[in-house]
């Protein structure tokens, strides 16, 4: 949200635009009987206008938890225990219930992981688009219906499917319908939480190019969450790699693919086959993700890391900018590592 004063400042002094979303030191704990599980542990990142930030990592690394924390839709026992999430000049974590209800979907909408479960089975697709438009007081009933039909058009579903129930649509169409709902209020930021995971490869490809197309037309920013790095190649501007509740590497998509610095990112890269290059044996990453009830001391990746030195198990590596706009949390690039 550019307020008049901030716009003035930009034009006068030519400062870089403020980021749309600014996450600082976000902590989310799952309160279990055996103690808090630190699912998100000090995550910070920015998303600028029109940018696509890819957030990748293994299952259970906390990436979906980050997404849900941004809209404050975490279910108990998950609790946001600290940090700041600024959207424009407002802190989402400080919002009252009313403010939050107005903020949700209007400013940040979300495409859920499984379209199969994201649509209410007993309400027509049309009504599920209309209700969000009406709830935010954007339009009356008739106009909302018109807008809902237009939205179906935009995502490539026939307008007359407005009165169809979710079970009458194919998997791909359902995911398109979910995207149509996310577009309903034209939000500046969309969170996409594994939007294509449940679909077969062909439909996956279609949906991805659709998202790309819509993004170019409408210019919204995306936080794209996936465990499949190959999906991020074409779409993302920057990529953040998450491991055990923390961001371990953050850089432009190009840098992540061409020069991954963190051993974990390097491992992820060698976990999927290249279509064009030479056939190589996949190396992958040995071991399993850590138990976040008792995360490993020091660098959390150390039990699975080939480059580990004793001192790395004691000291936590900070996320530092080792090259221009290339951030890594790894001792191989810190003073500790150099001295060891």
């Amino acid at each position: 949200m550019a307020t008049p004063s901030s716009r003035l400042r930009e034009s006068e002094h030519n400062y870089p635009a403020e980021p749309l979303l600014r996450v600082r030191d976000l902590h989310v704990h799952y309160l279990t009987p055996r103690g808090p599980v630190r699912a998100v542990d000090g995550v910070s990142f920015d998303i600028s206008r029109g940018e696509v930030l890819g957030l990748a990592g293994e299952s259970g690394c906390g990436k979906s938890t980050v997404a849900q924390a941004l809209l404050r839709i975490l279910q108990p026992p998950a609790v946001i225990t600290g940090g700041e999430v600024h959207f424009g000049d407002r802190d989402i974590l400080e919002m009252s219930d009313d403010e939050l209800a107005r903020f949700r979907w209007k400013d940040v909408s979300m495409v859920f992981q499984s379209a199969m479960n994201a649509l209410n089975p007993v309400i027509t697709v049309g009504e599920q688009i209309e209700d969000v438009i009406i709830a935010h007081g954007a339009m009356g009933k008739l106009e909302a219906r018109q807008r809902a039909a237009d939205l179906l058009d935009i995502v490539g579903i026939e307008r007359n499917r407005l009165d169809a129930y979710p079970h009458q649509l194919s998997g791909g169409m359902r995911q398109r319908a979910v995207i149509a709902i996310a577009l309903a209020l034209n939000p500046p930021l969309m969170i996409m939480d594994e939007p294509t995971t449940a679909l077969d490869v062909v439909v996956q490809k279609e949906i991805m190019s659709q998202i790309d197309e819509l993004k170019r037309q409408l210019g919204f920013s995306i936080l794209f969450i996936t465990h499949d790095l190959s999906l991020l190649v074409e779409i993302s501007t920057r990529i953040a790699i998450m491991y055990a509740g923390q961001i371990v590497e953050l850089a432009s998509a190009r840098d992540i693919f061409e020069r991954p610095l963190h051993p974990y990112t390097q491992g992820l890269m060698s976990s999927f086959p290249s279509l064009t290059g030479q056939t190589e044996a996949l190396t992958g990453i040995p071991g399993a993700p850590p138990n976040l009830l008792q995360p490993p001391s020091g660098c959390r990746f150390h039990p699975r890391c080939q480059h580990c030195k004793p001192i790395f198990t004691k000291i936590v590596p900070p996320l530092v900018e080792v090259e221009r706009d290339h951030w890594v949390a790894c001792h191989l690039y810190t003073d500790v590592g150099v001295r060891a």
Binding site: Q68, L71, I73, Q75, P76, L100, A101, R102, F103, R104, W105, K106, S109, M110, F112, Q113, S114, N117, A118, L119, N120, P121, V122, I123, D131, V132, A135, H136, Y165, H167, Q168, V178, I181
Partner: protein
């Protein structure tokens, strides 16, 4: 549409089957009501009297299939024979008057207990471990675990007999003529409070727990989370997204429970001397009024079938996924 037609066909067959069973079962039993009565009287009645009674009971020596045909024809004409205990009133008329009162009592208590129970269940699940959720289920289950006749008797003893807040018996003040007058309706409602309230208090806990449990699993569904992310009002998320879906399995349970509700009402009617089907059944059994018993069984069966048909139609209305099949 297709689905509804198929269901209708099913209920038609079920109705025919119950009619047929109702006819054959008593006839497969050894002896007949008249001979049983004769045996009890130990020879104090004459053979001619037995013959007259056999005729009154509709017992004849015609071939079974002929009797069956005549029986079906009679049923369609609404002729269930003549009641013995209410002689010479026709069974049909006796059952009809009882049916009205049972429907009033069962209808009111069932609708209210299901409605209140489900709403409490929704609220309990919504504010998990809140006041409604932590206090009501154990309390209601405690009350509901008492034998019903005990609870009803205690209520009757204190509220009606000792303190005189409510009438002791019957569906309306004795001597009042049934009419659509305010006075009569008020009397009916006044007599209805205690029997309805006791059966509601007993039943409500089960409905609440059932709804609460399905609601909790529904609340974890993605579409509920998404509805919340959409910034919809709490009411809409709670009812149109969560409760609307949680209702479906409970509706099935409701349909299955209906069969027991009408027969379960028997105790209420007996304790409060409420002139419904249950009370009549007791009278019929006490007086060995076989025609009335048969008529009552048939009526109860039909009522349960009709109620289940309504539940089926409701299900079609509420779950679009059923319509397609």
């Amino acid at each position: 549409m297709n689905f509804i037609l198929r269901r209708l066909g099913f209920y038609l067959v079920a109705a025919w089957a119950s009619l047929t069973l109702n006819f054959f079962l008593p006839r497969f039993m050894p002896g007949d009501p008249a001979t049983a009565l004769f045996a009890r009287m130990q020879g104090r009645i004459q053979a001619e009297q037995i013959q007259t009674m056999r005729e009154a009971y509709g017992v004849s020596d015609d071939p079974l299939w002929q009797q069956y045909g005549a029986y079906l024809v009679n049923i369609f004409r609404g002729d269930f024979g003549v009641s013995i205990s209410y002689f010479p009133t026709a069974v049909f008329d006796v059952v009809r008057s009882g049916f009205v009162w049972t429907i009033v009592l069962v209808g009111v208590s069932l609708v209210l207990s299901v409605l209140i129970g489900n709403i409490l269940g929704v609220m309990g699940a919504w504010k998990r471990n809140g006041f409604v959720d932590s206090v009501l289920p154990p309390l209601l289950m405690f009350v509901g675990s008492f034998p019903f006749f005990f609870l009803a008797s205690v209520a009757l003893f204190f509220l009606s007999f000792e303190w005189g807040w409510f009438p002791l018996r019957h569906a309306y003040t004795d001597g009042l003529a049934p009419a659509w007058s305010w006075e009569f309706i008020r009397s009916v409602l006044y007599h209805l409070v205690l029997p309805a309230a006791t059966s509601i208090v007993v039943a409500i806990g089960g409905w609440m727990l059932g709804m609460r449990n399905t609601m909790i699993s529904t609340l974890a569904e993605d579409y509920v989370t998404m509805a919340e992310a959409k910034g919809l009002s709490q009411r809409r998320v709670m009812f149109n997204y969560a409760a609307r879906n949680a209702l479906l399995p409970n509706l099935t349970a409701f349909g299955m429970a209906l069969g027991f509700v009408i027969s379960g009402n028997l105790l209420v009617e007996i304790v409060f001397a409420y002139p419904g089907l249950g009370y009549q059944l007791l009278t019929a059994v006490n007086n060995l009024d076989y025609p009335l018993m048969q008529g009552l069984f048939l009526m109860i069966t039909f009522a349960v079938l009709a109620a289940n048909l309504v539940v089926d139609l409701l299900y079609v209305r509420l779950d679009p996924r059923v319509r397609a099949g």
